[in-house]
Symmetry: C2
Subunit: 331 residues, 2 copies
DNA sequence: CTGAAAGCGCTTACAG
DNA sequence: CTGAAAGCGCTTACAG
């Protein structure tokens, strides 16, 4: 790999001049510049980003910490992040935590040491303290999907509205026993969906019906088991709301196996649609969240924070995207 | 952020001693070491990986270039890569190309400049030349899923066997008109699936039936349109093989809409299962590829290449994983 | 056992 | 308009 020095030697100038020519950081005589550019071409010189980063205190890299990728909304969000980052001249470093607090801690500790200029996180909630520390140590941080800290910018969907709207919608279809398949309440989106559901149920004068299982909640099996329990315990159940798409798939499958007709006997809604609902044999009504857009947006926010001078960092922004109810065959 | 210098000052020793103590790179008097460790703790010093990287010519980072994440086998593969990389002390940088040659070129060019020690790629095929250049310039490279270069290590599934086995299996069920939904032939896995299919058809004395659409091939819509065309043009069609899961979903949906019974009238197999087939209302028979394992394996291979001394790099290895036929309701 | 010095590849005041 | 020098935070021969 050619270095600045090689280019300088070939062009018969000092490295500093080459640097200035390449970065357009001050006027360089056109002839000199031409010579330099020719040398750059001949050696196919490419600047070493490590050295640039060390010198400038910038790495042009963003860390992304999410629970997992496969079959979750995070795959799409990550693609949005990657694309926006590339446009803005940043690379992204990915860590998946599998909801494990220790794995998350390790990732965060690694990222903070010069790896990245900023961290976008959908956290487990177990390391909030560490996240705050990192942020106040001068590394930009932004939350996506899961908002846990008030002083750190975030981009989320309106989970409470998802829960509320879905319940009201089902009630408008005549449903009276509406079960909820959700996840751990200490994680903001699950809490939000529940709050919305509860509010709607209260307004409608309908009973809250929910259940839980030991499976990891963001899974087909969780949806499958919860649906079976809901149906076992509530013979009159006429609707199921699933927090995420894969739970919805599990519920659909459970009903198929029990011979329960969807939507004739039980209607089904997913509260976090991301382009799966429309691909099914019985397509699934869902609240579609603009995942791709959310990823792009949170990236633009964090880059803005990274690039503003440290004496006037933007104050934390919290962006809430509405989800859109897309009615399909399952209701 | 505290630096080595801060620690050295606090411990009243030279920075070189601190470095040695921390890296166990030569004996340091226990008392001195204790003082240093205390200083490290007090300042909560963490080494700057950028500076380490610059000095040692190592980044401990691997670039991953894949077409996309959401709903493809690459999501799972990437998780496998990430996990194995973390265990081995590496971080991963992700680029998604969306099958766009230009985007891929940009990613590769960026990655080669000191960003990473190695690159794992599932390429578009349009930048093979560049990939070779990068490899011969001393950056480790490994191919995953798509093997395009003989001199660069690879980890793939046995796509030809997938096509062959699926066709034979369908024939054993009595199918005589077996249609194939595939993708562009210049991409190795699609080519391989076709070759296996063709071989089986020839041995069985059955006609080849296939079609194509203008949609991006790794998509629900592609599967949907191709299935409709196959059914339109071949009224006696009794089986469909889809190259990837989402195409299978599209085919399933098309048949549902036409009132074609699966598997009674038409049987359906996906040739690249990755944990979706089992989640469906009518579960889908598929050749399950061990995506997670493949990701882990390719990571171990590339790290081995990265860490071997440049005078005796391992010769290219090509690993082929078998896929397992998992029979479900769609056949 | 430890210090002083050089250097990884860059950028950026400081002179001239 | 351009060169010489310092320095980003580390590691590693080289002495002693």
């Amino acid at each position: 790999m050619a270095t600045l020095k090689d280019v300088a030697k070939l062009a018969c100038v000092d490295v500093s001049t080459v640097s200035r020519a390449l970065n357009n950081t001050s006027y360089v005589h056109p002839e000199t510049k031409a010579r330099i550019l020719a040398a750059v071409k001949e050696l196919s010189y490419q600047p070493n980003v490590l050295a640039q980063g060390l010198r400038q205190g910038k790495r042009h890299t963003i860390g992304v910490v999410v629970p997992r990728l496969h079959l979750t909304v995070f795959a799409e969000i990550t693609q949005g992040i990657e694309r926006a980052a590339r446009k803005l001249g940043y690379a992204i470093l990915i860590c998946t935590t599998e909801e494990d607090a220790k794995a998350e801690r390790e990732c965060l500790n690694r990222l903070r040491n010069g790896f990245v200029d900023g961290i976008i996180i959908a956290g487990t909630g177990a390391n909030n303290r560490l996240v705050r520390d990192i942020h106040s140590s001068g590394i930009a941080v932004a939350q996506v999907v899961r908002r846990q800290e008030r002083d750190i910018s975030s981009v989320v969907a309106d989970y409470e509205a998802c829960g509320y709207d879905a319940a009201k919608f089902l009630a408008s279809k005549g449903c009276r026993e509406i079960g909820l398949i959700n996840g751990p309440m200490h994680i903001a989106p699950y809490r939000g969906r529940y709050d919305g559901y509860r509010k709607a149920m209260a307004e409608l004068g309908l009973p809250e019906i929910s259940t839980t299982s030991l499976e990891a909640c963001n899974s087909f099996e969780y949806g499958y088991q919860c649906a079976n329990q809901l149906l076992d315990e509530n013979p009159e159940l006429d609707a199921i709301m699933a927090a995420v798409d894969v739970q919805g798939l599990g519920a659909m499958r459970a009903m198929k196996e029990r011979g329960v007709q969807v939507p004739e006997q039980v209607r089904l809604v997913s509260l976090t649609g991301h382009a799966v609902g429309s691909m099914l044999e019985t397509s699934m009504t869902s609240l579609e969240v603009p995942a791709y857009e959310m990823g792009e947006k949170v990236t633009r926010m964090i880059v803005e924070e990274i690039e503003s001078p440290s004496d006037r960092k933007p104050s934390p922004q919290h962006l809430v995207f509405p989800a859109a109810l897309v009615e399909r065959e399952s209701t």
